[in-house]
């Protein structure tokens, strides 16, 4: 039996209200994917069986607070817990905390500065020690310890005066009101104070290679370069786990990853999922369920707006008009992704659906450039004030669908007298200083603009986030607009979802007008799993497909 489904992006008023009440962003899936399907059997009473998740990168960082990449998250979510979790619908729900603090329940003060978190009292670490507020304090302090090779510190750096009120209650003060912090805490996993305090070196110790968490799975064993085995934690305080062994299998090549899904070696294709060019075939495989799941990342044509070619908004607008987006989606990406006009994921409560629609119109593009004074030179390439409308486009070498899109765009640009050369680089080069210090002319990539599911995009679009100009952040397009700056500052201070929504709708409107990047399409992942695997629910508010392994079981 072949089953494919596309998860949609529509939400009801009631759902929206419920989510707003929870103070989170909203990510939505078709209702049939939210709950357990009607035909689902009940999970086993004791953990049984195993699930093998195939990954195209190898998880190697097992201290969840240390600098790590997306692929490590599946292990983190399975072995550790955070104060809160974020559901597929974007609702922030309690995990180790008893309730989600907000300004109405007294967890967060009216000025957003005082935070009070109540914790569960029934949680134990994998070694049997009780989890307490001391662990939370230790975790939050470790992240900002200058000697510790921590992952993101945004938000954590604002925390002051952490006070353990009781083993189940902790308070702190924020240096400034920062609404996104609640969302960041859904990705901040708690580590055991009693274990790490005993380590002589914070960065290199045995915990890193055999971690102890509170999660549904315990450390099993790691065959470096091949797989990682986790085993069920029968004393888990939450739902599950229902499977006995959870394997993360590293399969370095995307084609081989798909092949091993076909051959049945893996039960679930994790990151980097199934390539769109294999989608049609994958959908016909027997005993496999293949699903299209919208991703938070947007495929973008990034413009370095400080380059003389791109300073003129008319040029950016004309380039956008000269991209045959639909052909890129249908012909090159097998119709898998969908159109978008913004950086905000479509599933988000903050998504602006009313932005001007892109059209592919070479005539208007040419006319627009003519009017702006960019006139064809002797070689046919447009020039204005000595600047030729010629630039390079770069992306990770070897990303074949993206490389095809580049060539396609190159051709339509040539038709309006714009010269685009292709200069692709290995990923270790592409995403180093070349990207972070804005040394590129234009770049192409799937960009995830949000941190967690919070709509705040200060890091991407605020003037003070331009690293190339001494700022702190990831404003790689070097985009600067005082109006956007002001809105972003207001948005990060605002806790009320409705008020925040108005702010971010406006931000999207301005950015759609200014076009520091040209949105090509909203990415969609092709998920694949064996029939019979139950409880698996995609959650694009997290970075991993393995965010709820505790709920997985075999029918």
């Amino acid at each position: 039996m072949i089953k494919t489904s596309r998860t949609g992006a529509s939400y009801s008023r009631r759902q929206a209200l419920r989510m707003m009440a929870a103070g989170g962003a909203v990510g939505l899936f078709a209702p049939q994917l939210l709950g357990k399907p009607a035909f689902a059997q009940t999970p086993p009473t004791a953990p049984t069986g195993r699930v093998v998740v195939g990954l195209s990168q190898e998880p190697t960082v097992f201290n969840p607070l240390m600098a790590h990449i997306e692929v490590d998250d599946g292990v983190n979510f399975s072995m550790f817990d955070a104060l809160f979790r974020i559901s597929p619908e974007g609702v922030i729900v309690p995990n180790l905390a008893l309730e989600v603090p907000d300004q109405t329940n007294g967890g967060i003060s009216a000025d957003g500065l005082q935070w009070r978190i109540k914790l569960r009292d029934d949680v134990r670490w994998h070694d049997g020690q009780p989890f307490t507020a001391e662990d939370v304090k230790y975790t939050l302090e470790l992240i900002v310890n200058p000697d510790f090779r921590a992952w993101r510190t945004t938000g954590h750096a604002l925390v002051r005066d952490i006070t353990v009120v009781s083993p189940t209650e902790i308070t702190w003060r924020m240096e400034e009101a920062f609404a996104p912090y609640l969302n960041f805490l859904t990705e901040t996993f708690m580590v055991p104070k009693h274990v790490l305090e005993a380590a002589t070196d914070l960065n290199e110790n045995t915990f890193n290679q055999s971690p102890i968490g509170t999660g549904a799975f315990k450390w099993g064993q790691r065959i470096a370069g091949d797989n990682l085995e986790l085993v069920a934690n029968p004393d888990y305080f939450g739902e599950g786990p229902y499977i006995e062994q959870l394997f993360f299998k590293y399969i370095p090549d995307n084609t081989v990853l798909y092949t091993q899904f076909r051959s049945g070696d893996i039960d679930l294709v994790g990151q980097a999922y199934i390539s769109p060019d294999n989608y049609a075939e994958a959908a016909t495989l027997p005993e496999r369920v293949v699903t299209l799941v919208p991703k938070t990342s947007v495929e973008t044509f990034y413009l370095n707006v400080e380059k003389p070619q791109f300073k003129d908004r008319a040029v950016r607008e004309a380039l956008y008009l000269a991209i045959d987006r639909q052909a890129i989606i249908d012909a090159l990406n097998y119709g898998v992704p969908t159109v978008t006009e913004t950086f905000m994921p479509k599933m988000s409560f903050y998504y602006n659906p009313d932005l001007p629609k892109h059209e592919f119109n070479l005539e208007r593009a040419a006319q627009m450039l003519d009017e702006a004074g960019w006139l064809p030179g002797a070689d046919g390439i447009r020039v204005k004030d000595g600047v030729r409308l010629s630039f390079a486009n770069s992306t990770t070498a070897g990303a074949h669908l993206r490389e095809q899109a580049q060539q396609f765009i190159q051709q339509t640009f040539a038709e309006i007298g714009v010269e685009m050369t292709i200069a692709n680089l290995p990923s270790a080069v592409m995403w180093g200083d070349f990207w972070t210090l804005s040394q590129f002319d234009s770049a192409m990539s799937g960009i995830n603009f949000l941190i967690g599911a919070d709509p705040d995009v200060t890091n991407r679009f605020h003037t003070k986030a331009i690293t190339a100009k001494g700022g702190k952040g990831s404003n790689n397009a070097q985009y600067s607009n005082p109006e956007v700056d002001a809105l972003l500052e207001e948005g990060s201070r605002t806790f009320d979802p409705e008020a925040r929504r108005a702010i971010y709708l406006k931000v999207q409107e301005i950015i759609r007008h200014d076009l520091p990047f040209l949105p090509l399409f909203a990415n969609t992942s092709v998920f694949g799993q064996k029939e019979g695997l139950q409880g698996f629910v995609p959650n694009t508010n997290t970075r991993t497909e393995s965010w709820n392994t505790a709920a997985w079981y075999w029918a």
């Binding site: 960082v61 097992f62 945004t154 470096a224 370069g225 091949d226 091993q260």
Partner: protein, 316 residues
Amino acid sequence: MSAFLLNRFLQSVVLLVIVSIIGFTVLNLMPGGPMAQYGLDPGMTSDDLERLKEQLGLNRPILVQYFDWAWRLLQGDWGTSFRDGSPVLSVIGRHIFATLLLMGSSTVIAIAVGTWIGIRGATHRYSAFDYVATIGAMVALSIPTFWFGLVGIYIFSLELGWLPAGNMYTIGDGSALNYLHHLIMPSVVLALVHIAIWSRYMRTATLDVISQEFVKTARAKGVPERRVLMKHVVGNALLPMITLAGVQLPSILTGALVTETVFTWPGMGRLFLDSLGYSDFPVVMGLLMFSAILTILGNLIADIVVALVDPRIRLA
């Protein structure tokens, strides 16, 4: 002999220093670096990246970094992997078994089959067998290994279902038979190229010996053809092959980049590619020094063995 060894030791030290300087310089000149893996993470601010660089000591001048690394290496500290925080030697240790298994078996296949084809090709020169072997060797040498690998997986795994589509073992089954089953395809695919090389060398070497006077003398004395072949021809033809084996020795421990990727084999070749991809400098440098030492050792062993078995050669 001891003068020879001392001489070779000093040469080797100089060579290792040169290799390490070139390796370190090239790695550090390569744009990008270890922070590139976080480049697309919206939450990693430039501040976070600078902090990490500082903590890893990457902000120091290259020369300082090099001497620090070399000084530690001299004391037996190969450094710590940026990626997983474990000591480089233990990272290498975790991958060496997989490579040894794969390269060992493919080398055995390659030497056995290659030697046989080479000798038979030489003794049956211009026969149908010789032509087929020559063309076969050319094909094996010109077609990339990953192509053979993917075609093999397609035919034997997906279509026929006889062999696994890669991996070193089935998760949940660690039996010797299971390892063997998984070993067949990658070791044969990897052996193909080596059989081609080995058989061509062996054929040439055999032809060289066959036309020599002492072989003719043996035949004239009435020594049976089989004995002429085994004792006089093959024995002498194998001499140059010892050198070839010495050159190939390091690859047994350093692994096969492409084959290990196609067959999802968790060996040293994969480790090298991954470490390069993440700019895990300590591991890349460790692997570089490791293979440089093996290359030196392989050549040294080959020279000594040749001198031992061939009385015409004296080491000085």
